[in-house]
């Protein structure tokens, strides 16, 4: 009973209604008892309790009502709001598939890096920490401020992408609110510039931009997964709630490229370009039986690990995108066309006197007057006049259809992005001189890959395989030529690398090499300039060709090592093929020359040492190197 009494004074003083009521009560009670203080009995306990209880009841009812409102009526809305603040669906990063060479050596590998991001709404609430963050990021303070202000209404902004995980950990250790990191992947190319053009590169989002990275982007790229997590206000993950979608890692890709041959080709081409002072060059090595690309190199090249700094010009895969007039490398096709049509035989004789024949207003000339040549001689000496005489016996359509069958004038089907089809117009668009100039490789343009493909068809018994960059995956193939004629032409091409041919420097000890040099003058405004392209295209070993290789050296400086295909390109061919034959364990088909060369070396050594070394001693030391040679 003490409590109401105790509370009363303050109550009365404040509430006029209560005072009035009490006054009324006092008056009621005061009338009989006069001026006496009011008695405790007149104190209306029941009414007050009811009042308090009612007020409390109302309060709890209001609370209940509010609870009902929150939990039942507006539940959806509040749950959404809550989820929007803390529940996040975050992507699960996945790595891009690895690219390997044909032996499983890694050529492109994705490695994780961290990207620092921030929630500007959170971060801008603590501006005092910004300078510290800017310093940690190595960023200009004003720039950071500007970047955040621009995106103040957003919830995500990258601060620094693709940094070393250790560095990211250091930045996160500052515990600046709203700053978090995210795993991403970066592509590394251990082979560097040797393979840059074939592989291409990816952009900052790990999407293929050029080369095979672009062509097989869908295959290599994984599908990022998603998971639902609860995040606190610093962006840290408090709890993983659920897996929305499992991440699908990218698939690996095994290329047909052989890393060792690729490197060899790159090194030798670089040497050739440096020695001849050429502006650019390309080399392509194909596997004859399958059409697989074993090596494809271009110079100038770039470092795919830091693409930004290299000139755009160096990014082009010239072996596939650039067009050249094939020059004399065309002649084996011209001869094959003649043989197939039956207008010439291997024994046909051509009188190339006086070293030129007219072609409309122009002339077709040879470098020397070769006099009377047989069909083999036309190829061995690379006689333009001879080729012109052969093509004269063929119909326009006949010649055109034949060359088309070797893939000139259409894409090879390699699937490489940006591949050129070449320029090989149909006969109705030829002018009077076209056919004759085409017979020795002018007035049409092809890519180095097209030459390599056509030559591979000659080496493959006349069956042309579409080149492929993927191990074990072969494109369409069709018969382009009768196997007997292909064999015949190959034997003629063999004479090119033998004494008396134009490319003795392409000869490989122990192997027969079939090839053809080419030297084409570069077309410039209104005619042909005194600038050249040196080719060598060939097949080894003639017995059962394994490799088809084309070397193109563009614009060599004639004052250094000359400009003909036989002097600028043939040595590269020899060096690369020699190594490739050894690497791929191709058995020699011309042991006799090897034995002869060995006997000669032996004799020289005997003469140098001045006394006879017993034959048995040489035999004893022989086995180790000999097995290597025969392998």
């Amino acid at each position: 009973m003490k409590l109401p009494d105790f509370q009363l004074p303050g109550f009365t003083r404040r509430d006029p209604r209560e005072a009035a009521r009490r006054d009324a009560g006092r008056r009621d009670g005061a009338r009989p008892s006069g001026n006496r203080p009011r008695s405790r009995a007149s104190f209306n306990l029941r009414g007050r309790l009811l009042l308090v209880g009612g007020a409390l009841g109302l309060c709890s009812f209001a609370l209940l009502g509010r609870a009902l409102d929150l939990q039942v009526i507006e539940k959806e809305f509040y749950q959404q709001q809550g989820a929007a603040r803390f529940l996040r669906e975050i992507p699960i990063a996945t790595s891009r598939g690895m690219i390997t060479d044909r032996n499983g050596e890694p050529l492109a590998v994705s490695s994780p890096v961290e990207s620092i991001w921030a929630n500007p709404q959170e971060l801008l609430k603590s501006p005092a920490r910004l300078p510290q963050l800017a310093d940690a990021l190595g960023m200009d303070r004003d720039e950071l401020q500007r970047r955040l202000s621009q995106r103040a209404d957003k919830e995500f902004v990258y601060l620094k992408r693709r940094i070393n995980p250790d560095e990211a950990r250091r930045i996160l250790a500052l515990e600046i609110p709203g700053v978090a990191s995210q795993r991403e992947y970066r592509r590394f190319y251990p082979q560097g510039e040797a393979l840059a053009h074939v592989l291409g590169f990816t952009n900052v989002d790990d999407r293929g931009q050029e080369g095979l990275e672009l062509a097989f982007d869908d295959w290599l790229r994984g599908t990022p997964g998603a998971k639902r997590v609860i995040r606190d206000r610093r962006g840290r993950i408090v709890e993983n709630v659920d897996l929305v979608r499992a991440a699908q890692p990218g698939r690996d890709l095994a290329l047909s490229i052989d890393r060792r041959i690729q490197y060899l080709a790159h090194r030798e081409l670089r040497t050739a370009i440096t020695e001849t002072g050429a502006s650019s060059g390309s080399a392509v090595v194909l596997d004859v039986a399958t059409g697989e690309v074993l090596a494809m190199v271009n110079l100038p090249t770039f470092n795919p690990n830091s693409v930004g700094t290299s000139p755009r010009d160096a990014h082009r895969n010239r072996a596939i995108t650039d067009l050249f007039e094939p020059g004399s490398t065309m002649k084996p096709l011209t001869v094959a066309a003649g043989l197939e049509a039956g207008v010439i035989t291997p024994a046909s004789m051509f009188n190339t006197n006086p070293g030129w024949i007219p072609n409309g207003r122009y002339r077709t000339t040879d470098t020397h007057n070769y006099g009377v040549l047989d069909t083999t001689g036309v190829i061995r000496k690379s006689s333009n006049v001879g080729a012109a005489m052969i093509v004269h016996r063929l119909g326009d359509r006949q010649f055109y259809d034949f060359v088309r069958r070797f893939g000139y004038g259409e894409r090879t089907g390699s699937g490489f992005p940006g591949e050129s089809a070449g320029v090989f117009p149909a006969p109705d668009r030829w002018d009077g001189t076209s056919k004759q100039t085409m017979s020795y490789g002018y007035a049409l343009s092809v890519t180095p890959l097209q030459i390599a493909t056509a030559y591979a068809a000659l080496g493959n018994g006349g069956v042309l395989n579409a080149p492929s960059f993927i191990k074990g995956q072969h494109g369409a193939s069709h018969r382009a030529l009768d196997p007997g004629i292909a064999r015949e032409v190959l034997r003629m091409m063999q004479t090119v690398t033998e004494p008396g041919g134009t490319a003795t420097r392409a000869a490989i000890l122990g192997y027969h090499v079939a090839g053809k040099t080419g030297t084409s003058r570069k077309a410039s405004a209104g005619g042909y300039s005194r600038r050249y392209i040196g080719y060598f295209a060939g097949l080894v070993p003639v017995d059962k060709p394994r490799f088809s290789m084309v070397v193109v050296v563009n614009d060599p400086d004639p004052s250094r090592k000359g400009y003909t295909g036989g002097s600028v390109s043939a040595p590269t061919f020899r060096n690369v093929m020699e190594g490739a034959l050894r690497l791929m364990d191709v058995s020699p088909d011309n042991l006799d020359t090897w034995l002869a060369a060995q006997a000669e070396a032996e004799a020289k050594r005997l003469k140098a040492s001045g006394r006879g070394v017993p034959a048995r001693a040489t035999a004893a030391t022989a086995p180790a190197p000999a097995t290597r040679a025969l392998q």
């Binding site: 890694p106 490695s111 042991l591 070396a601 050594r605 022989a622 290597r628």
Partner: protein, 88 residues
């Protein structure tokens, strides 16, 4: 009487299933956490493997091998006269 038994059974069943749901969700959460941990472990191993492959490829880079063989180990390519051909 019968009605009360049914009611009681239903009530008990209701409570039991509710508890089972709670347990199920809890187990799901635990399992998901375990899955995440294993995923992370797998990823870490994959990453480590990738890094090692990269490192291996960098060491085995042809240009480097070529230079080490020639310069540091003094190796040369066998010349024609160094190779002996045997006929079998």
């Amino acid at each position: 009487m019968n009605r009360y038994v049914i009611l009681a059974v239903l009530l008990v069943a209701n409570v039991a299933t509710a508890l089972l749901i709670v347990r199920g969700r809890h187990e799901h959460r635990l399992a998901f956490i375990a899955l995440n941990r294993l995923d992370k472990a797998r990823d870490e191993l994959n990453i480590e493997f990738g890094r090692l492959q990269l490192e291996q490829a960098t060491w085995a880079e042809s240009n480097r091998v070529d230079q080490v063989a020639r310069a540091r180990l003094g190796m040369v390519f066998p010349r024609t006269e160094d190779i002996v051909v045997l006929r079998r």
